[in-house]
Point group: C2
Chain length 270, copies 2
């Protein structure tokens, strides 16, 4: 009972922080997503770097900072992705040199975790921040829409799964997910997308249906990918930001995973 | 004796192929560096992906192709690094999904090896190809200069080390390297840089001295980084392109490692 109360209180605080960050202004929006990305990257690095490495605590902070370089640069008005990549390339080489002197046990795997975090978390969030700041005009509509689509996908899957769930979707990784739940989530997600197309008209109905399809297909897969991460390292939660709700990666796994598909759609089909 | 003959013949073939690729025309240049990059990436992936993974042979080819995406795109006239990064981001997400279905033992480490290859080999070589094709005009001068600087650094280090070598430079990783050799290599490298500044005058003397310093400091460290890779996976050579000379990574370790520093210099100080 006490556990349920703690969960409810922390969920309420989470909702308030999210809504404030999303809706207040461009600065709160950037701060919110920078914090989410730093948190998720730190958790990923924390999971992947083994205890065999010396000074693993300091190392993890240092690696997190490096993987966050694109997120720190995107705060600048004159952000240039290709310059950012050149800077990252240089930093990665410097880390290799540092690995030499730190006598690492798994030097290449350590650097691999940094580059992985860049592609799995940092660049997708940078892509979202850039899409939300077109030609100097800030709009939170895309992020708000995508977050609500992700939540409606989860909610639909939960209710449809509880009511009709029979056929397991991916039992090896996520034993509770069913095909019925996944389809129910997808349906609610598409309905939500159609509603959003009436609210936020700077994206047309086709855009919104594409977002809905991306979220319903890749959101569910993003969930599974994060579960695969936890299973392969034999842990239960990625972190513990809020009692009973896991970590940043647990909360934003589906959302972060859909962003590369959304960015790709804008970059190549818009 | 037979071994020495094999080594000499393969070294001669190597020199001819390198000179032809470098000097013939823009196409032979691009083909040469694309082959070097594909070879080095394949070796890196081959070293890092364990035998525990199912279908590890097919997997390695597939991962190599993915890490080579920037190299394939750079062949296009309208190459755009930021578009390339968005495409890579999407591909990385698709690989995560593939890892789910391939029942990988180390899914995140596998994807990490791909992203690592992108930063350690693919993007540096792409940077060199871009620097050699400024505004549609091809010039091999930078690549020729940097390769000769790398070789003169090695040669100087070899002779100075054999003659005066006493104090070990980095015994844990490379027991034969000495401080005397490293300094000798650096000196010959700077002298070669000054000679090149007279030959290839589109870069000024300061540029050439910067290249010389980069090669003498980071070339030697790049050697050590590749030795660290081999030591951490307990192998002797990265591959076997030519009998007695090791693989692509063994041959081009120092050269690939200096490229991020050279690209950074051009992007931020030129």
């Amino acid at each position: 009972m006490k556990n349920l109360k703690t969960r409810a209180i922390s969920a309420a605080i989470f909702a308030v922080v999210m809504l404030f960050g999303l809706l207040y202004n461009a600065l709160s929006f950037k701060i919110l997503f920078t914090i989410i990305a730093i948190g998720a990257i730190h958790e990923l690095i924390n999971i992947c770097i083994g205890k065999e490495e010396k000074n693993s605590g300091t190392r993890k902070i240092f690696y997190t900072l490096l993987a966050c370089i694109p997120l720190l640069l995107v705060w600048s008005e004159s952000f240039d992705l290709s310059k950012c990549i050149y800077l990252l390339m240089l930093c990665i080489s410097v880390v290799f040199i540092a690995e030499l002197y730190m006598q690492s046990v798994y030097p290449f795997q350590n650097v691999g975790v940094i580059t992985l975090s860049v592609f799995y978390v940092a660049l997708p969030i940078v892509g979202l921040i850039l899409l939300s700041n077109k030609d100097g005009n800030f709009s939170n509509h895309l992020a708000v829409g995508l977050l609500f689509l992700t939540w409606s996908n989860d909610t639909g899957a939960y209710f449809a799964g509880s009511k009709f769930g029979k056929n397991k979707f991916f039992p090896r990784i996520s034993p509770n997910k069913t095909w019925e739940g996944t389809i129910g989530g997808g349906l609610l997600c598409i309905i939500t997308a159609i509603i959003f197309s009436r609210l936020f008209t700077e994206y047309c109905i086709i855009d919104w249906i594409v977002f809905g399809l991306i979220v319903s297909v890749f959101g569910s897969l993003g969930d599974l990918v994060e579960s695969m991460l936890k299973r392969s390292f034999d842990i239960k939660d990625s972190g513990n930001i809020m009692p009973g709700h896991g970590g940043f990666l647990d909360r934003f796994d589906a959302f972060i995973f859909i962003l590369p598909f959304v960015c790709f759609y804008f970059k190549f089909f818009h």
